[in-house]
């Protein structure tokens, strides 16, 4: 009589067939949730710092105005004159009624240019603004 060792006859490998599906799902989630950076920033700026700041949750509402160290103003993809802001921002507001204008202004700027931009925005009735700042630690 022959003795045979008792062995469980289950397979020993882990089923990995669904692993790619899971990873692809993760991948798709990331692709859907992220917004890609659209514009090249042509001006140099350093943001000021502040403590009591808020987050803008909905990125799709935001439109940016950059003001660089040298006082140049950028909207969308190009440098614009102060007088052009009203027209551009008004067309943005028509397309997106509750647009938030995020002002990314160099911290060394003077308030003169900031007030000028604000006046232009008021004329274009883009009233929700946000002074972009970094978090002061």
């Amino acid at each position: 009589m022959k003795f045979e060792k008792k062995r469980a006859n289950t397979k020993q490998n882990i089923p990995t067939a669904s692993l790619p599906d899971i990873v692809f799902m993760l991948l798709l989630f990331f692709m859907v949730t992220t917004t890609l950076r659209e514009v090249d920033v042509l001006v140099q700026y350093r943001l000021p710092e502040a403590k009591a700041i808020e987050k803008i949750e909905n990125k799709r509402l935001v439109s940016y105005i950059w003001v660089g160290k040298d006082g140049r103003i950028q909207v969308n993809d190009s440098i614009v004159k102060l007088g052009d802001i009203q027209k551009i921002m008004y067309s943005k507001r028509v397309a997106l009624p509750n647009v938030i204008v995020s002002l990314r202004i160099d911290k060394g700027s003077e308030m003169g240019i900031v007030t000028d931009i604000q006046q232009e925005l008021r004329k274009a009735s883009c009233l929700r603004i946000n002074y972009s700042t970094l978090l002061k630690i």
Binding site: P20, K55, G108
Partner: protein, 181 residues
């Protein structure tokens, strides 16, 4: 009887073991190449534009108004008292607190006015202090009445509504002066 053995076909299988690796690589690429920066900043709503000839003078009682003036040297005047920027929030807090129970048309209005030559950085620091004062008061109110910190309260809840009702943030950016040389 002769049994004809059927020839066993080899099992057809696609090698999928590397699929996971490939998809992980793609995932990593996306994780690395995307910028997840949440926009942070100080929010504000500008007043509607009214042409100068249609502007109306609305009288505002002295105890409702906190006038904040910043000149180009960085000196700060709060209701004609010279203070430094870090003191703003401390000075404003009691004034905001004293008006919590008053009706909406009696709340404090903070008016910020700067020179054309004032540095933007100073303006932001001052605005930050004003917001800080409001947030502190809201936080204390929330702790006292709801037993929650301000950051734990949902933005759409009834509690937040009450907070916004009791302690509205009214910051007015003063109309720039046309000619001043």
């Amino acid at each position: 009887m002769v049994q004809i053995k059927k020839r066993k076909l080899p099992e057809a299988e696609i090698p999928t073991s590397s699929m996971a690796d490939i998809s992980f690589l793609l995932l990593l690429f996306f994780l690395v190449s995307t910028v997840i920066d949440v926009d942070t900043g100080i929010g504000l709503v500008l007043p509607e534009y009214v042409p100068p000839e249609q502007q109306q003078f609305v009288p505002l009682s002295k105890d409702r108004l906190a006038a904040l003036l910043i000149n180009e040297n960085g000196d700060v005047l709060l209701n004609n008292e010279l203070i430094s920027i870090p003191q703003i929030s401390k000075t404003l807090k009691p004034r905001i607190e004293s008006k919590i129970d008053l009706p909406a048309n009696k709340k404090l209005v903070v008016s910020v006015k700067t020179d054309r030559k004032t540095s933007y950085n100073l303006f932001i620091q001052a605005l930050d202090q004003v917001k800080q004062a409001y947030f502190d008061v809201r936080n204390e109110y929330a702790l006292k009445h709801f037993g929650k910190r301000l950051i734990d309260i949902d933005d759409r809840s009834e509690e937040m509504k009450e907070l916004k009702d009791k302690i509205p943030i009214t910051i007015s950016i003063a109309e720039p002066e046309t000619v001043k040389k």
